[in-house]
Point group: C2
Chain length 483, copies 2
């Protein structure tokens, strides 16, 4: 009797929201039944993917001169209040520790919602001379925000990210860092993970609170909403002045520093991995971040056959291991069909199927998850083929994702076109007046379409009339519904 096949029961294109929830649960990424709202249990499969994503970012950050630190989780209320806009922006979202043991604490401690106000008081101690600059530090941590509505990997009261806090002698160097941060995102999120995005300069009303300028990466989720997966901020000298971070320059003059902070949203990148590459069978993982890159399924129907099949499986396993490939022989007491489904659901990029015929004829049946296709590969070519496939899979995922992304960006000339495009889940490119009230009006009228910002090298000019209000347009902006 065939075992019950437990897979995704809805189609991604038909009911994205339910599809996403099922993938999160059934692929073993998260359990949402923990008894505090917005706090999830990160299951092993997610943690193993997340560790790989952290590794990619950290390697890239360290290559460009960042060093790891770990700052305290708790931030005293007084630190928080030193930068006025920052505290106004974040205070409604802060969890407060107020008691310990039987004591009431003398002052409240915030759980970090972001760590500017933890880092920068120390920076004011560490930085005294131009010799101390640049200072580039990052930490890989959870942060805490009192969000009203929550969703695993998209919006949580506890979520994982990296925050890099960099300090420079000049604004020019800080702006160069902003570019480096974007390049860091591009190298990991696009090149290694195959997730396309637009890096946009946010309108002033959508900046990080306390920043002069915010630049953020938006990818598109198939339900027609954009998802911010990374952002970097030109902090100017606001925090420098709030925290008195100064240095003495080569001429002996005391000056305020210039700062940037950068936050790749590890959680959101997991959400994007699921949403962008996943299909009706479940997750589809790029080779580089797959916890298991090649799963080996032994297929036999007698004890005699088992011996030979397992011997070949083990030989292949060791060969892969020697070549640095994360691999597993699935020896669970289940049918091959059940195992195929299970690993397809979990998104393992490559599967070896080893049965009697593979042994007799000296080949391996190699299955690739992205195209759901099998091929025969001679035994002595199989490791080379795995590495070729790793690239082919990534290239295929990138191409598919890019096509989807680009085909969903449309230029509109009228309110009607805009409304139609937004309803169809597109990212809209259009002329815009630049006024917050106009953006607000559009958002309300369209049930959520937001001005996401301008391209990075965009220059203000005369761009005809604002598509929404008809006033003179000074900008070309991207507009979309957003998470």
């Amino acid at each position: 009797m065939p075992e019950k096949i437990i897979g995704i029961t809805v189609k991604k294109a038909e009911n994205f929201s339910e599809w996403f929830t099922q993938v999160v649960t059934k692929a073993g990424l998260a359990d949402q039944r923990y008894n505090v709202q917005g706090f999830i249990v990160h299951m092993p499969w997610a943690m193993r993917i997340i560790k790989q994503i952290y590794r990619l970012f950290e390697e890239e950050l360290e290559r460009t001169g960042h060093e790891p630190v770990l700052f305290p989780l708790v931030i005293p209320e007084e630190n928080f209040e030193r930068e006025k806009e920052h505290v106004e922006g974040f205070k409604p979202e802060v969890f407060w520790v107020t008691e310990a043991g039987d004591d009431k604490l003398e002052r409240k401690l915030a759980l970090r919602p972001t760590s500017e106000t933890a880092f920068y008081q120390m920076y004011s101690l560490w930085i005294t001379s131009w010799r101390d600059l640049p200072l580039k530090l990052y930490q890989s941590v959870s942060v805490y925000r009192y969000e009203k509505t929550t969703r695993p990997f998209i919006r949580g009261r506890e979520f994982l990210w990296i925050e890099a806090h960099d300090v420079f002698a000049t604004h020019r160097q800080a702006l160069r860092q902003v570019k480096e941060d974007m390049e860091n995102s591009r190298k990991v999120i696009w090149e290694k993970l195959g997730i396309p995005f637009l890096f946009l300069r946010r309108p002033p009303w959508d900046k990080f609170k306390g920043a002069e300028d915010t630049y953020a990466a938006d990818t598109l989720v198939p339900d027609g909403r954009v998802l911010q997966i990374s952002s970097t901020h030109d902090l100017g000298q606001r925090f420098a002045k709030a925290f008195e971070i100064t240095y003495v320059d080569k001429k002996g003059k005391r000056r305020y520093v210039w700062q940037t902070c950068y936050g790749p949203g590890i959680w959101r990148i997991v959400a994007a991995l699921i949403s962008v590459h996943g299909d009706d069978k479940g997750l589809v993982l790029p080779f580089d971040v797959a916890p298991i890159q090649v799963v080996i399924i032994p297929i036999y129907y007698s004890d005699e056959a088992k011996k030979f099949v397992m011997r070949k499986c083990r030989r292949l396993y060791l060969k892969l291991k020697r070549n640095g490939v994360r691999s597993l022989i699935d020896t669970r007491d289940k049918t091959p069909g059940w195992k195929f489904n299970d690993w397809e659901l979990k998104g393992v990029p490559i599967r070896f199927e080893i049965g009697k015929r593979e042994i007799e004829q000296g080949y391996v049946t190699v299955f690739r998850r992205d195209l759901m296709k099998r091929e025969k590969v001679e035994d002595d070519k199989v490791v080379d083929r795995v590495f070729e496939l790793a690239n082919e899979i990534l290239e295929n995922l990138k191409e598919k994702a890019k096509k989807f992304f680009e085909s969903n960006i449309v230029s509109v000339k009228s309110k009607k076109e805009l409304e139609k495009a937004i309803k169809q889940g597109k990212i809209v490119k259009m002329s815009f007046c630049g006024r917050e009230e106009c953006a607000e009006d559009m958002r309300e009228a369209t049930n959520g379409a937001k001005v996401r910002g301008t391209e990075l090298d965009f220059k203000e000019g005369d761009y005809g009339k604002c598509v929404w209000c008809g006033e003179p347009a000074k900008y070309i902006v991207y507009v979309a519904k957003a998470y």
Copy 2:
């Protein structure tokens, strides 16, 4: 004019406490000036060592069937109260989140002091059948305890550890896990890090609150106090009953599970690394966990020489990198002497010194930190020599540490001998009656000597008279002052 050499200004043997503080600060491990007591900033050098220590433990845990998870930081008060002894033990130490934004929370949330009561409510959902067992999960996280006195890497209100929570069908399997946990500690802490310890079964009054039995590793710090660096607990069925964690066995009968939990104290292991291997010059790191394993110092006194010296340095750097060695060329604008001191302070195990003579004669001056000795190694043998030295250094550190540790364990027959040995900072082995009151009396009279426990395979019997109270002795125990 020679630059000012900034190093450790006290001797380890003369003023351990001040020595420890100076190493922590001057080697760039931690900054204690953060404005919340007991919360420190982990500086880059410490974070890079800590990442290596985590890697060693995680590899070993995964090899023995554990998988990584991440549970929420916050635990509702109601979970906490389900195991009576546990809550009584930990409640005085808990930080409570009681507010968020402008809201007062309906129920208080604890910052995890340890995560039994977070994990086990989920375990009761996940485990239903014997097929779900064993379940072996771990997380690498910070935990939070409201300690009165704090010290970096020894006792903090925020500190780093791993916690593994394992579940079995039988008590026998659970006890086997306890042994596996000890073996995990031995493999990493002793074999890879060269820190010797005694694994002891704690007396009943010193158990983990909620456990049936606690087994813990004590190392000896040169100030004559032992430091618990790892512990594993036989939880029996206490939490299983408190959280209703049951499984249906092969015969269809519902049974309570058996549990263990294991906690390698990553912070404390850093403290042990500093204390056990460090010397009057600063840190001494084993090769495996050193953030930089080989530092290359170019030595030149003209631009002409610089060109040749840097060329050789870069060639060596690339050769080391290809062989997986973490290396750095120190190009800072400082004298070679200053750099030597700086890297000695930071404990880098191997240094290459490259000057004119090294180029002319085709060799490398190789310095090893543990013995503070130089040797000449021919260019083409230098990578092999690095790997040999990695082992030699570890073996030397182990031998030295073991000798110190073993020479400080003494057997005593009388109260007087005991008092003398404790004053000298020894670990004492002695006959003991087994009564908590006697242990308490001894602790007070000796200004802190505590019964740390018995050896693992120890059997109760007739061991003469208790060294402290003179009553019949049923145990041989280890006694020491402790952190």
